[in-house]
């Protein structure tokens, strides 16, 4: 087998603007492989992104693509999807874009369980604006706006989206490329709000400031701190420390928003007859 990727990429826009070793490229590549694997119709697929390094992904992907404002991609995507439920709508966001300024849209998209696939490239930093801390920057770490170490605590995004109502929740890493492809494919095929956190690395604006000077080091760190969900539950509390589970963390069959709305239309129009 080989992975088809060329036709989903806007080749003429490459090389992309991401720095050497940036995890966003790997994640975008494997998202594309997941799209290919899921066999969704590229002509009926829309990619919506926010603002940030992550947000630039939409420009490289050969679909209908929309680069929006900072934090609002899910709200734009909600309009796109509800207006035409036939479309596959993918949202690409960052940890700042998706959990700071865009946190409300994330939890409300999840609450509605509208059929979007949200890919959050979590590099634990505001990459694009050069390294301010995000809600996902680990407590204690350094950032340009946390010169004395970050005192903010972090979300567990799987918990947050679960509590909000998402019906598919998964986490992968730029390190584990094959798992990523599987997760993306499964999330794309799931009907309902699919939230996928993809751990990325920003060697330039996060790594350098926190003792991890190369992408390779950061990937090794991802490798060492991630545990497949199949093994996760068998770990002791001690063993879980500093680690996080990856894979499909939650999946549920649940009424989807645009389908429920279609039922309203059907019944109202039926009545009007």
């Amino acid at each position: 087998m080989g992975y088809k990727i060329d036709e989903y990429l806007r080749q003429d826009k490459l090389p992309h603007i991401w720095c050497p070793g940036c995890g966003h490229g790997t994640i975008m590549g494997n998202l594309i492989r997941g799209i290919d694997k899921a066999k969704i119709d590229p002509d009926k697929t829309v990619v919506v992104s926010g603002i940030g390094c992550s947000g630039r992904a939409s420009g490289y992907m050969n679909f209908d693509t929309l680069h929006t404002t900072h934090g609002r991609a899910i709200a734009f995507a909600t309009g796109i999807k509800l207006a035409n439920p036939e479309l596959n709508v993918i949202v690409i966001t960052g940890d700042g874009d998706g959990t700071a300024i865009g946190g409300n849209h994330l939890i409300h998209g999840a609450r509605r369980n509208i059929d979007l696939t949200v890919v959050l490239m979590n590099n634990h930093i505001y990459g694009m604006t050069s390294g301010q801390f995000s809600p996902m920057t680990p407590t204690g770490d350094n950032a340009t706006t946390a010169p004395y170490g970050n005192i903010d605590q972090n979300f567990d995004l799987a918990d947050l989206t679960k509590a909000s109502g998402a019906s598919f929740i998964a986490r992968g890493t730029a390190y584990n490329t094959r798992q990523l492809i599987e997760i993306f494919a499964e999330g794309l095929l799931h009907t309902g709000f699919s939230f996928i956190e993809a751990i990325s690395q920003c060697p330039v604006n996060y790594g350098r400031r926190n003792g991890l000077s190369s992408a390779v080091d950061m990937l090794k760190c991802q490798r060492d701190s991630s545990v497949n969900i199949r093994k996760w539950d068998s770990l002791s509390k001690e063993e879980k420390k500093g680690k996080f589970p990856t894979g499909v963390l939650y999946k549920e069959d649940k009424r989807e928003y645009t389908e429920m709305y279609q039922e309203i239309i059907d019944s109202v129009q039926e009545e009007a007859k």
Partner: protein, 377 residues
């Protein structure tokens, strides 16, 4: 025809007008005095196969409406001052990426929470300058329920024809007033739809100037696979970060509006050859103005009126012309003087320009205008 006569609120007329214009999507967040628009469309849209969604806030509502329009549905949102402030960032994106949609602001007294149930025309300047950076704006202001219906249709037509968000500025009086409206027959309503590309995806450039400066626009899902961004972009839709692209795009965005003033600029006048005093108004204030002019004329005063239905772009040339003829211009507004600034900017020497301003939630009474007419005559 009898069943087409209706007692409607202005807000309800927006609902009727939107449906008639082909609107099939609403996203919004409730706020007095605009909630009736949401409520009406929540009920009506599904009957026509359209969609209604209440979003978590106004920022999301504006985003959602832009998204829906990109998917191909004529889309509308409605709010009042506080929500209009929140929509500004995404409204700017809509203007930049040229997405047709209608944004209704039923004005109440600001700033801030202000007087939430009282009428105002305080957001007129905000409609033009509310989002950062220069940008093109079309804003319409009806003065009656009937006009609300008509201008709602116009708003959708302008939005689609010029591929841009259009702002419909009601004031609370017009929004909540009930009045007789005769709804036109469907055949009698002129409807514009967005221009679709005539070329296939291979040869398509989403931001290519075509005749009228308005690029054609495919729906998402039609195979064009094009890119759209709030960064300055070239005709391919992609950002190159060049100064040339910024200038070219901005010039086209402004030109497509300013170059079509003959279509976009709607106003009415009742000015007789020898009228010397002109009252220029818009929105509910117009009603007082007409009443006052009628009284003035009965008293033998040479007075006439101009009713602006399109507020932005401001009809610069027309007002310059009027300013050359008139002895005095009187501008009554439910604010501290907003449109009067445009008039002052464009009227030189000849005509005095006087404002009548109320910003306390009360209306300008006909006699207040009449008094001013008598003063300046």
């Amino acid at each position: 025809m009898k069943d087409k006569i209706k007692l409607l609120q202005g807000d309800e007329a927006v609902v009727e007008g939107a449906i008639a214009a082909g609107a099939r999507f609403f996203a919004g967040y409730p706020i007095t005095p605009a909630s009736e628009i949401a409520e009406g469309l929540a009920e009506k849209l599904p009957i026509y196969g359209g969609k209604f969604i209440q979003m978590e806030d106004e920022l999301a509502s504006m985003a959602c409406v832009i998204g829906a329009s990109l998917s191909g549905l004529k889309s509308i949102t409605a709010t009042s001052g506080p929500g209009f402030s929140l929509k500004q960032e995404n409204l700017g994106l809509g203007m930049m990426i040229e997405v047709p949609c209608v944004v209704v602001n039923v004005q109440r007294v600001g700033p801030s929470t202000g007087l939430p149930t009282s009428p105002s025309q305080g957001d007129v300047m905000q409609a033009k300058w509310g989002t950062h950076g220069d940008h093109p704006v079309i804003a319409l202001a009806p003065s009656s329920v009937k006009e609300t219906y008509e201008l709602t249709v116009n708003a959708f037509n302008f939005a689609e024809r010029f591929r841009t968000p259009v702002i419909l500025l009601l004031d609370e009086i017009v929004g909540h007033m009930r009045e007789k409206v005769v709804l036109p027959d469907e055949e009698d309503i002129e409807i514009w739809n967005r221009k679709k590309p005539e070329v296939g995806p291979e040869n398509f450039n989403p931001y290519e100037e075509t005749d009228g400066l308005v690029p054609p626009m495919p729906n998402y899902g039609e195979g064009y696979r094009y890119h759209t961004t709030g960064l300055f972009h070239d005709r391919t839709g992609f950002p190159r970060g060049t100064n040339e692209d910024a200038k070219n795009l901005m010039d086209r965005l402004m030109a497509k509006i300013e170059g079509n003033m003959d279509i976009i600029s709607l106003y009415e006048e009742d000015i007789r050859d020898d009228d010397e005093i002109i009252v220029l108004a818009y929105g509910s204030t117009m009603r007082s103005a007409i009443n006052a002019i009628n009284q003035a004329r009965e008293a033998g005063i040479k007075a006439g009126w101009i009713k602006l239905k399109t507020i932005w772009p401001f009809p610069v040339d027309y007002i310059k012309e009027v300013g050359r003829r008139a002895k005095a211009l009187i501008i009554p507004e439910l604010n501290r003087g907003q449109i009067i600034k445009e008039v002052r900017e464009n009227v030189f020497g000849n005509a005095e320009v006087h404002g009548i301003n109320k910003y306390d939630g009360t209306l300008i009474k006909p006699e207040e205008i009449l008094n001013m007419i008598q003063e300046v005559k």
